[in-house]
């Protein structure tokens, strides 16, 4: 097993709001291994983005993170601002769904990129420029020298995301966190960006965390997958196990409700009944229980712990029987 790069223990993220506290992430334990692609999948409010924003020290002002996060053995959660800035530039980087919001519209792409190297690596402008041209070429942007003098709005969405990836990789971070990196892009461009991430991982050995709601994107790229629901990890497995032998009812619900082109068209889509959970409430039992077809009395009373099923397969569920439509009755 590959060595672990990032270790998260007991991570909790809470927001203080006018209507009381909102529990965005609860009791999260996980690790990211060197060079792997870890997929984290969940719907809105599942805590998948807030987990990584907390680790990057980018939570909104009313947010607070507790627990422990170690990068290469060193505690990094809630570091002072100055130390965080260094860490973010040099050892881990994050890219977002909409690159436009992460870029300064008034500065050329070149200025935004060279600044990173001048600040973190003490390079001269000239040196930095040469490196940035190389970085743009590594993400397959042609005519890189000319593009450096262009402004973000002059790029298409796909090109902007390439620029963001190139910028994030300038300092050769060990960990690249991608939060819905292709959600705003067209499918043809999405396919290119996913191929690019895969190529960069192989070339530079960068560990990638891929946060998305899209099970198709995860299937394409991830080595391991974590499924989140209501701020909790409900299942974790190697990618083929998760798609082929999932053991959590929510994972099953997600996989069955996606319309897909690789299977015959069915007359009706399977659904997960009910609504997304209210994060201001902290149920005593399983947060998925109100929507779960397999729920029983214990699920209402007691939070299921995350337990190992062997083979690095973990899940948090009381139900012990078989999943699948055939067991569910008519």
């Amino acid at each position: 097993m590959a060595a672990s790069l990032l270790e998260i223990r007991n991570l909790a993220v809470r927001f203080t709001t006018g209507d009381g506290p909102v529990y965005a992430v609860n009791d999260l334990d996980l690790e990211v291994r060197r060079g792997e692609v870890l997929g984290m999948v969940g719907e809105s409010g599942s805590g998948k983005s807030q987990t990584w924003l907390a680790i990057m020290g980018l939570l909104a002002k009313n947010g607070r993170a507790e627990g422990s996060v170690r990068l290469g053995g060193e505690e990094i959660l809630n570091l002072p601002q100055r130390a965080l800035t260094r860490l973010r530039g040099e050892r881990m980087a994050m890219i977002f769904q909409d690159p436009m919001t992460a870029m300064n519209p008034f500065l050329t792409v070149g200025r935004q990129m060279t600044e990173v190297l001048e600040w973190h690596r003490g390079m001269s402008r000239r040196e930095a420029r040469a490196r940035c041209i190389g970085a743009l070429e590594s993400v397959h942007i042609t005519d890189a020298a000319r593009r450096l003098s262009m402004y973000p709005h002059e790029f298409s969405g796909g090109m902007r995301q390439r620029v963001m990836i190139a910028t994030a990789l300038l300092t050769e971070p060990q960990l690249l966190i991608c939060d819905e990196p292709t959600t705003a892009l067209d499918v043809t461009v999405q396919a290119q960006i996913l191929a690019l991430l895969d190529e960069l991982r192989q070339r530079f050995g960068t560990a990638i965390v891929l946060v998305t709601h899209d099970l198709g994107v995860i299937a394409q790229l991830a080595d391991r997958v974590i499924v989140m629901y209501a701020g909790r990890q409900v299942e974790q497995a190697e990618v083929h196990t998760l798609y082929g032998a999932y053991r959590h009812p929510y994972t099953e619900g997600l996989l069955r409700s996606v319309p897909r082109l690789d299977q015959p068209r069915s007359a009706r889509l399977a659904t997960i009944p009910g609504r997304p959970p209210d994060l201001a409430r902290r149920p005593a039992g399983c947060p998925f229980e109100p929507r779960c077809a397999y729920a029983s009395e214990i699920c209402r009373r007691q939070m299921p712990p995350l337990v190992s099923l062997g083979d690095a397969h973990l899940r948090a569920c009381h139900y012990d029987g078989a999943l699948g439509p055939q067991e569910r009755g008519a």
Binding site: E43, S44, H140, S156, G157, G158, M159, D186, V187, T188, V189, Q190, A191, Q192, L194, A195, H213, D214, L215, G216, V217, I218, A219, Q220, A222, V239, H240, Y243, G253, L254, L255, S257, V258, P259, R260, L261, D262, R265, R268, L269, A270, T271, I272, P273, R275, P276, R291
Partner: protein, 329 residues
């Protein structure tokens, strides 16, 4: 086609005049919708797909006259809409309603659910009395899966999926024949998306509705549509029955789109060849000569540069490609 279509669109143009670059800019023409022709038959679901900038949203708005057409014709049951005066259009608006992508953004935050759903009736059925209106609001809420007790709530109290049910109720309350759904499930979570798609299919069966279902997600469209129209840079590339289109796409652009849809199966996803990193979308202000798709097309040749392919019939399917016979063979 024996029965006349519910909606007939012929050579529809929606062109915008925009400012060009430079100090003394000339006006440039953006052809958002360019010579688009298609029929919508009563009771069918026509899917409209394409990437961003393909004109699918502009087209939906132009059909409802929310944006003026600059050329061509739109006929609803034989009545020409493009030249119809505003007053004469009003009764027809009852027949054509729209459901939008972002349910929360499209609902007035200061109105209650009951007021939001009643509003189109006040505008389009002014003769209707208050009691009947309220009954119809409650009946429609029930049909879309909202509870009567929610009638005095405000939109922000609803989740995205519930808010989209309000948007659907508002469209259906005037009993339209044709509903244009513009990316109605794109903003919703996976588990909620399938609920709304099933609801739209149920409502169609119950009320004999006709849908134009605009979306960028080809897997969702396959689920709901009977026929599919593929747009690229404002032009129709292919219009075909659903099963034929997904089993054997004739246009190279349709094939490119289908090959890029992610498959939620790791074994299949990794075996598949990734779509090649070809040119990105050309600027809609400077369309390529001939075929609009030729700069990204693996089959492009001299003829594609010189001559714009017309939409023509091959084996009962409509394709705008000089090389479609090769794909059909």
């Amino acid at each position: 086609m024996s029965e006349p279509a519910l909606l007939e669109v012929r050579a529809l143009d929606v062109h915008f005049s925009v400012r060009g670059p430079g100090l003394l800019p000339s006006r440039l023409t953006l052809r958002a919708v360019d010579q688009v022709s298609f029929d919508v038959r009563a009771g069918e679901v026509l899917g409209v797909v394409g990437e961003s900038g393909c004109g699918k949203s502009t087209l939906s708005r132009a059909l409802l006259k929310l944006i003026p057409a600059t050329g061509g014709s739109v006929r609803l049951r034989g009545v020409e809409l493009t030249t119809l005066p505003k007053a004469a259009m009003r009764p027809l608006r009852r027949s054509m309603q729209m459901i939008f992508q972002d349910p929360l953004a499209s609902l007035d935050p200061r109105m209650t659910v009951g007021e939001i759903i009643a509003e189109p009736m006040k505008a389009l059925l002014p003769a209707m009395g208050r009691v009947e209106r309220e009954q119809r609001v409650l009946r429609t809420m029930q049909q879309v899966g909202l509870l009567p007790a929610q009638i005095n709530r405000y939109p922000h109290e609803f989740s995205g999926g519930q808010a989209q049910r309000i948007g659907i109720a508002r469209a259906l309350v005037v009993e339209p024949q044709l509903v244009i759904c513009d990316e109605p499930v794109s903003a919703l979570d996976v588990s909620i998306k399938s609920q709304i798609i099933n609801l739209l299919l149920d409502l169609r069966a119950e009320h004999g509705l006709t849908y134009i279902f605009v979306a960028h997600d080809l897997a969702t469209v396959r689920h709901i549509a009977d026929r599919v129209m593929v747009l690229y840079l404002g032009r129709v590339m292919e219009i075909t029955d659903r099963d034929a289109l997904y089993a054997r796409p004739l246009h190279p652009y349709t094939r490119l789109l289908l090959s890029a849809v992610p498959i939620p199966d790791p074994a299949l996803a990794r075996r598949r060849r990734v779509a090649p990193a070809r040119e990105e979308l050309p600027s809609p202000l400077a369309l390529p000569s001939g075929c609009a798709f030729r700069t990204r097309c693996p089959l492009a040749d001299a003829r594609c540069v010189a001559e714009r392919p017309v939409l023509r019939e091959i084996d009962g399917r409509y394709v705008a490609c000089h090389h479609a016979e090769a794909a059909a063979a």
